[in-house]
């Protein structure tokens, strides 16, 4: 805390020096400090670190070739706790950060939206911006939408819209079982699945609809027993983490022959778990990208990323986020969050895989092409595998951005 006094003194001297240098000084590149607020210790650390590395990699890439804007990403450990996140953001603001990025946990995201909105109200002229790269609760861009929040991941309704558009063309899907986690996200997946399947495939029978307590179930065998009894041919699940691994393990043990349509089959650790169960080409994932999309620049990026970071790209959306941030700052010719936010509304940008994406101004939700892929053995000489399993994601279908648009109830309150 003493450091802050020294820091201010130093800042004062620099300001003084700048005044002496006057207008003749060369225009140094503007610096944008980005605070990465996500779990960096405890159970969620591996996911958090994967995100942080991706952000830092993107900053590094930008700083190497962009003379006008320097990006600086600092990690803050929020321990996956909303209150702790607010404390860490406060620390980040102290050290000059004006942009907060976060993704793990919709509850944390909701807390940050709330905090940022109040902070900006109470500190005009010092606004901060919140860029959300992974929290997918639909409410965040509907009932809880906020001008200072932008979401770069498709929310769970969008993913379900894409998924059901895909299932629409698969007549072999007849009986669907829903297994989700008992919290806001799981409930959102479940209700979206029910509503959208009913609309797009009224013939499909939903033979089971289950919510299990979040991260509390030791053994999913009882659930799998019910799935088997129901005769389901497909399972739709938003489970992640151990709830995903345990579910697959129980399914494999019981010899369940059903397809799993998942949100997080590609999440950290999930590929390892799938490989263990030997459920080849039975696990599908809906996401904004995967390594083996047949688009050469994407492959180049993946290769360079793996070489530099030492792990695969789990978050293509972070790449998109950083590209859009730089683009918006360039258009606004400013690093002021207020200007960046303005420029970001309605912005169009090509994704990592060469497709158009756009930020809808009504609710600050990014729409991008979604891909459905399945996990199984691949030729590792030609394709990328996941988590060194020798298995990788293979494309099954893609849904372009405009086909993923879902309506929003957001009433955006814009600053005057």
């Amino acid at each position: 805390m003493n450091g802050s006094i020294a820091g201010r003194a130093l800042a004062g001297m620099i300001a003084l020096g700048a005044a002496f240098a006057g207008t003749t000084a060369l225009a140094a590149p503007a610096t944008l400090k980005i605070a990465f607020v996500d779990p960096l210790s405890g159970g969620g650390a591996s996911t958090g670190e994967a995100g942080l590395k991706t952000f830092q990699y993107m900053a590094e890439q930008n700083n190497a070739k962009n003379p006008d804007l320097k990006l600086e990403v600092t990690g803050y450990d929020n321990k996956l706790n909303p209150q702790e996140s607010l404390v860490q953001i406060q620390k980040a603001i102290d050290s000059g950060a004006r942009v907060v990025v976060q993704g793990n946990g919709s509850s944390v995201a909701a807390a940050i939206i709330d905090f940022v909105s109040k902070y900006n109200d109470r500190n005009p002229g010092k606004e901060i911006l919140y860029l959300n790269y992974a929290a997918v609760d639909p409410a965040l861009t509907n009932a809880k939408c906020n001008y200072w929040h932008f979401r770069f991941d498709a929310n769970s309704d969008i993913k379900m819209a894409a998924l059901t558009n895909f299932i629409k063309g698969k007549p072999e899907v007849k009986k669907v079982y829903l297994i989700n986690q008992d919290y806001s996200f799981g409930q959102a997946v479940r209700s979206a699945a029910r509503a959208m399947l009913k609309e797009k495939r009224p013939d499909i029978q939903i033979v089971g609809d289950e919510v299990a307590p979040l991260q509390k179930v030791n053994d999913f065998s009882p659930y799998i027993a019910k799935v088997k009894a129901s005769g389901a041919d497909s399972i739709i699940t938003g489970n992640w983490g151990q709830d995903m691994s345990l579910l697959l393990k129980a399914a494999a043990d019981a010899g369940l022959q059903a397809n799993f349509y998942t949100y997080y089959g590609g999440g950290a650790g999930a590929p390892t778990a799938i490989k263990q169960t030997n459920l080849a080409d039975k696990i599908f994932q809906i996401a904004e990208g995967y390594a083996n999309i047949p688009y050469p620049p994407g492959h180049e990026f993946e290769k360079a990323f793996r070489a530099r970071v030492g792990q695969e790209l789990i978050y293509p959306r972070v790449v998109n986020l950083m590209n859009i941030l730089v683009k918006a700052a360039g258009q606004a010719k400013s690093t002021d969050p207020k200007a960046i936010a303005k420029a970001m509304e309605g912005i169009h940008n090509d994704t990592l895989y060469g497709q158009d994406s756009f930020m809808r101004p009504d609710d600050h939700q990014l729409f991008q092409t979604m891909y459905i892929s399945s996990f199984g053995p691949i030729d590792t000489a030609k394709n990328f595998d996941s988590e060194n399993t020798g298995w990788g994601w293979k494309g099954i279908g893609e849904i372009v951005a405009k086909d993923t648009v879902v309506p929003t109830t957001c009433k955006m309150d814009r600053p005057s």
């Binding site: 591996s46 299990a212 030791n218 009882p222 659930y223 691994s245």
Partner: protein, 317 residues
């Protein structure tokens, strides 16, 4: 429905036996030393991870034997160099010591093996479906788990009934105040009991590891349930621990298969009125499957109010 019943019963008994493997060690330790070992589930986790690590070099079977021995030895060391020093400060610091130990073990496991599940596999020898009822496979490995738990249960009974140390332990179970009169080797007996108790937890860990997920949070998931088992069964009662283990194993497994809520019962009875929302609305629609994991705690509170000594216990802590 019958299929569900049979599979659920098997799963429930299996889960119960796993719980008992741990609860028996916990009960032995508590009876002899008066310490409720908060870190007991952590030794279960260590068993799973050691089993995994050893199996990578030597195969599953050596891991099955070696890991519990290593963990038991570790447990004995913890007793000798940790718990024994805290003992003179009283029971609360002892409990707190094991509380801190649980915390540290989880951190160390995360440090060594990371936070993601490790690839601990069922040995190929047992990797086949044992039988199929109504086209549901029941894995042979699960039957093996059941067999191991039952074998250890029987072995434990024999040791308690037939050996000198068993008699001492039995005496201590019924007359905890007499432990001090065991003579000069009481310190060794404590160390042995702690080592064996943690070793039993490790056996549970080794055999559960490949079937469930071997991950750094497995202790945290199971720990609280374990306390429910020993407290509901009656602190210090082995039979009580056995009954409570099976009870909780079955209750938790069967709760999952019940999609019943107040609203569904009301509908079945032809009642259409329902609360508009709010807290009552939440209670109205929650299913038994959803509250499954809460049931053990509910059971704990109810049992302790009605019978503070637990189901089969005869002494209070």
């Amino acid at each position: 429905m019958l299929e569900l019943l049979i599979v659920s019963t098997l799963n429930g008994v299996l889960y119960g036996m796993l719980l008992f493997l741990m609860a028996s060690g916990l009960t032995l330790i508590f009876s002899m030393m008066g310490v409720l070992n908060f870190a007991h589930a952590s030794f279960y986790m260590l068993g799973a991870f050691f089993g995994y690590q050893i199996s990578r070099y030597t195969g599953f079977w050596i891991g099955l034997v070696a890991a519990p021995l290593v963990v038991g030895g570790l447990g004995a060391l913890v007793e000798r160099y940790g718990l024994r020093n805290v003992h003179r400060h009283g029971h609360v610091p002892e409990l707190l010591f094991t509380f801190g130990l649980a915390y540290v073990i989880e951190e160390v496991v995360q440090m060594i093996w990371g936070k993601l599940p490790v690839d601990y596999r069922v040995p190929p020898l047992l990797d086949f479906p044992a039988f199929t009822i109504f086209d549901t496979n029941y894995p042979a490995y699960k039957l093996f788990m059941l067999a191991v738990s039952v074998a250890i249960f029987v072995g434990l009974l024999l040791v308690l009934a037939r050996t000198r140390i068993g008699l001492i332990i039995q005496a201590a179970l019924t007359h905890p105040n007499m432990v001090g009169m065991l003579g000069h080797d009481v310190a060794k007996v404590f160390m042995l009991v702690f080592g064996v108790g943690t070793g039993l937890a490790a056996v549970a860990g080794v055999i559960a590891g490949p079937s469930l997920v071997t991950q750094s949070n497995m202790a945290g998931l199971l720990g609280p349930i374990l306390f429910v088992v020993v407290v509901v069964g009656g602190l210090g009662s082995l039979t009580g621990a056995f009954v409570a283990s099976l009870l909780i194993g079955l209750v938790q497994t069967f709760a999952v298969s019940l999609d019943v809520s107040v609203s569904s019962v009301a509908q079945a009875l032809g009642i259409t009125a329902q609360p508009a929302g709010g807290v009552l609305g939440d209670l109205w629609t929650v299913t038994i499957a959803q509250i499954g994991p809460v049931i053990p705690y509910l059971l704990l509170v109810v049992v302790l109010i009605a019978r503070p000594t637990g189901l089969l216990g005869n002494r209070e802590a």
